[in-house]
Every structure is written in C-alpha cells, then in structure tokens.
Symmetry: C2
Subunit: 356 residues, 2 copies
Amino acid sequence: MPNMKIAVIGGDGTGPEVTAEALKVMDAVAKLEGFTIDKTEFGFGGDHYLKTGEILPEGAVDELKKFDAIYLGAVGHPDVAPGILEKGLLLQLRFQLDQYINLRPVKLYPGVETPLQGKTPEDIDFVVVRENTEDLYAGIGGFLKKGSADEVATQTAIYSRKGCERWLRWAFEYTQKRNNPKGKKLTLVAKTNVLTYGHDLIWRTFQEVAKDYQDVEPDYNHVDACCMWMVKNPEYYDVIATTNMFGDIITDLGGIIQGGMGVAAGGNINPDAGGTSMYEPMGGSAPKYTGKNVINPIAAISAGAMLLEHTGQPAAGARVMKAIQTVTGTKMKSQSAGKMGYSTTEVGDLVVDALS
Amino acid sequence: MPNMKIAVIGGDGTGPEVTAEALKVMDAVAKLEGFTIDKTEFGFGGDHYLKTGEILPEGAVDELKKFDAIYLGAVGHPDVAPGILEKGLLLQLRFQLDQYINLRPVKLYPGVETPLQGKTPEDIDFVVVRENTEDLYAGIGGFLKKGSADEVATQTAIYSRKGCERWLRWAFEYTQKRNNPKGKKLTLVAKTNVLTYGHDLIWRTFQEVAKDYQDVEPDYNHVDACCMWMVKNPEYYDVIATTNMFGDIITDLGGIIQGGMGVAAGGNINPDAGGTSMYEPMGGSAPKYTGKNVINPIAAISAGAMLLEHTGQPAAGARVMKAIQTVTGTKMKSQSAGKMGYSTTEVGDLVVDALS
Ligand SMILES: CC(C)[C@H](C(=O)O)[C@@H](O)C(=O)O
Ligand SMILES: CC(C)[C@H](C(=O)O)[C@@H](O)C(=O)O
C-alpha cells in the first residue's frame, strides 16, 4: 500500500479547525483508494512566533523538503502586526521552496451563491496560473532621503526569461491537459502597454512558448480589461496565466465570484523533480471565530483535494472534488460563514459520507 | 457673460460621435446657466499619426495649456499597433500636463443594469482618486542580456513624498467636500505587506496627512481584498485613494459594476493654479461601430459634466448629472451598446431635453 508523507501547518486562528476537516476527508478517501497518509504537524504561526521570536526556525525549510507535500491552514494572529507572518512564513516558503506556480481554480460549485447576476456553475469555471516567485514580490527597492520632504521610494519588479518560461510552459501544458471541451485557450493577463520592459519579456516568451502548443489558442488581455471581463463574462476564460502581483489581485476577484473565501483554494507548486509543493485554503485565520465551529471548511477540503491530485493521487483528488460538489449541491444552503446551515465539523462529515 | 475655452480632441473611431453629444449637452446647459463655451478642435489620433508619423505635434502641449480644460473622446485606431496612441497621447498628456489626479466616480445610475446581484444605486456610489503621474507608469526599467536565455527585465515603480502628499491631500479634501451623509471615509488601497518600500512611503504619508483631516475616517485595504469587497460590498466605500497601477485595475472593475464602459467617465486633473485638466469617457474608440450611431454617449456626457463641475461651473455640472439620471431612470432600458433603446444622437437629445 503506497504511502504519502505530508507536513501539516495548521497555523493560526481557525486554521487548525478547517485543516482538521481537510485531513479527515483526505484520510477517508485514502482508505477508499488504498493508500495511507502520514501526517507530521508543525506548530508554526503566531503563537510560536510570540513565544520564540522566530517564524520559520533554523532548518525548518530543509525539514519540510523531506515531505511529499505541505498542507497549510492559515496564518495571521491578532497580536502580531499584519504582514509579518504572511511574509515570514507563506512568502518565505513559496520562495525558498521555489514554488513557482500558484494554481487557483475559480469554480462555482453547484448550490453556492455567486454575487454575479445570472451566472451558473457552467459560466464560472476557469483556472488562474499565477507566477509565484518573481515580479514585485522580489522585495527589491529602497528609499532616498527617507523621512524628508524630498523622499523618493522605489519598488522594482524583476522578471527572468527562465522564470517566465518555466511558468508559461507549465501553463500551456496545464491548458492542454485540462482539455476544455469548449476549446483550449490560455489567456495571458498583463499590462504590456505600460510595463514596456518587464511585460515585454513576458510577452515575447509567451509568443515563443506558444509555438510548442499548437492545439492551445494563445490569447491576451490587459489586466484592467480582465477584471471587467471576469465579472461580465467569466465564461470567456479557460486558463489564465498572470504575474505574481496581478495574480494576487485577480484571484481574489476570482475567489469572490466563486462564492468567497469559504470555497477558494490554491496550490503553491514546485513541479520540478524533487520539488515540494504547498496547498492552502485562500481564506485568512479569522481569529474571532476560533473554536466556534462555524467556518466553512469547503475551501480547506478543496485544498486537500488539490494536494492529492498533484501528489500522485489524482483519482483520490477527483473523488473529493466530486464529493464536495455533491454536498454543496444537495445539502448546503450557501457557503458563507454562519449561513452554511451546518457546523465546520458537520460539513467535513458530509463530505466524507459523500465519498462513497 | 463668462466664457469657457475648451480644447476638444474627438480622437478615433466613435470618439468624435460621443464627443459631439457631450458638446451638445454642454452647450445647452451653458445657455441655461448663462455662460458660453468656446471650442477648438484638435485632430489628434490615429489618422493624424498615420498621415504625419507624429502623435502630439511639436508645441501641442503648450497650445493645450492655454485652454481652461481639455475634452478627449477616445484614442485607438485599427491600423495603429495597440498602445502607441494611448501612450503617445493619453499618457503623454497626463504626464506633461502633470494631471496628478485621476478622478473616477463609480456610480450606478437609476435604470442602469449592474452585473452584481441585488445591488442598487444606493449601494454603488463611491469615487476612486487614482494617482496619475508616478508608480509603474514612470516607464523606468530595462533589460539584461536581452533576447538570451539568461535575460532579465526590470520595471520600477517610483514614488515621491511630494507626489504622494499632493495626491493624498487632494483625496482627503475631496472626501471632506463630498460630505457623505453615511460618514466621510477615505480608504487607501495599496499592498503594504508586499511592496514594503514604495507603499511604505505612501502609508507613512497617508497617516501624516490624515492628521489634518480629523473629520475624515482614514481606512486601509489591501488591493486584493478591495477587489473582493467592491463586488461583495460596494456600499462599504465612500472615497478610495489608490496608486496609478492599482487604480487602473480597480477603476475598470468599478466601471463594470456601474454598468460598463458606456457609462463610466474620468477626469485627469491638475488642480494647481494654472493647471490644465482633461476629461474623458472611459470606453475605447470601438472602431467597428464608427458612424453607426449606436454607442452609448452617457459616459461621454458624464465626462462633460465633470469638466463643467471642475472648471468653475459646478451648477451646470450638477444639472447635467441630474439630467443623465432622469434619462437613464425613465427612458433608457439598459446602457450597453445596442441595447440602449435609442441611438447615440437620440440619447444626447434626451439629456438636453431633461436639462430644463
Ligand atoms: C498574504 C499575502 C502576502 C498573499 C500574497 O500577496 O500573495 C495573499 O494575498 C495571497 O494571495 O496568497
Ligand atoms: C490606455 C491605458 C494606457 C490607460 C491606463 O493604463 O491608464 C487606460 O487603461 C486607463 O485606465 O485610462
């Protein structure tokens, strides 16, 4: 019986609660599909930081590399300044583990409410492939005459040919495999008319890589137009490839049109041989709801399904995705916290039941 | 009788058609309010560029500075590579005339359809104050080993204390004057947790300037969260201050939730003594509809109302805004092209009629 070894970082606030539901479902599907999941918990997050002053202890990254994948609940603690844990943990792991793909499906599950008028699960079903290691996230910049009336500050976006190519190639391959019956289309979302250096490199790379994928229609949208289009005509999209910064923005927009943070999940993927990937629900740690058993775990369970799909158990992943949709389509009234009609743990149980 | 002198750049495609409706309404309201508008047309745009190879002729900017304001229809020509005219004309004028405020009201007019479920004109009524001369729009960047497998490209966002301060001060003052009965709130939209240099300067400036406006509630959203919130809870916002790049993105999102490009307008404002400002509908030149008399001129007429409001004729501006809402609320079925129930010129006539 094959065995999967995962590292679990439940994190802060309601992170551990939704993580528990994801793990419950993953264990159940593993049993049905004939494999096991070894879980090792890492107590990183706000409490650990407040106690020790460290976010990722010495050696933690090397330790995490030994696992087949990482499951992350949520980070963000009321007593820690905003941004500290997100940067020290989430962004650090993305960079240090070179997880250069941030995969964010935008899918309206049956039964889930979208804020968009008249849109159905058929209309809202696309995937964003966000680059995850370059761009404005490089942390490059500085100040001149800091604090004075003449202060100037810079922030530099940096892109490499290698970084663009590996990300775009992956996006084309993903589009090919996704094999959308409506037509395979990869839309690059950028701002070539203004970012005439950085996005020129992306644009040239996109055109070259496209030649190797003749069955995929290469397409382009400016980021501003894309935001309009996602709201007006989400059915236009199949797969979107976009930069780190724009991906941050449009995937939150994607998250809300698919019903909100209670359902949106993402994968931080290093697809190279030996790479370690990390899966997370997109919502925050919602500290004020800690222990109340009211947070929607669908996003967390979807993150678990993605983990399985991309860690050698695609059948198990698909089975969980199907169970989620059975539950949202038949049992749950709506996916927002407090309105979902069931407690966090009950939703986990419903998904387990729907597996078989 | 006071006299207003404006420069008119009708531009490409359907730009001149919608401009004609805006001017018709402006002339009509001027008559009612007892002033006149002198109009001087400038034939800049795609045709001029194709004939002469120049976008803004030598001396054009100095010429334009002599006017009280500029009215711009639309630029973008099918035979000119995308971006050339937008950069050579629109961005050039914004920069050369130092129009550091890009003012974009997001207002759902009565009768106009929004793609958001259950939202009314009361819910969608806020204003975005986009900085218009700094950030990634500075055009700074470069390439290393261009064309090689090791190529690296950079694109630098640059911000100055002076630039941040004048923009944020204007935004606070605007919020004060807007005097929202629900409470005066200015939300800064940025990404301080990732852009730790550039947006740190903005954040520090915001906090300092806020002290001078004690009656305005200073508020902050990350740009990703703002996109979610604009769709889920647009009623949360009163005034938003944001950077050039993020403003580009969120105002297109704003444009779609207020009913689309047929209704959204913006002002590129230099509020300093002697400054020259430019007003434009947000839609493009829609070349394939040229001469068909089908484009919704409401956005263009709103741009005219903004011009009047900010060029010493606020009563005339308000009168046009009221007439627009009378027309959308009672006559027009929907604001999208082809569905509006009237031709371009008929809509202009309806607004003229509604003025008195
Ligand atoms: C928490 C933050 C640093 C992060 C990002 O900006 O990438 C988040 O918004 C996300 O999208 O995962
Ligand atoms: C045409 C383009 C350069 C411009 C911009 O990016 O500012 C447009 O999108 C806008 O928002 O006015």
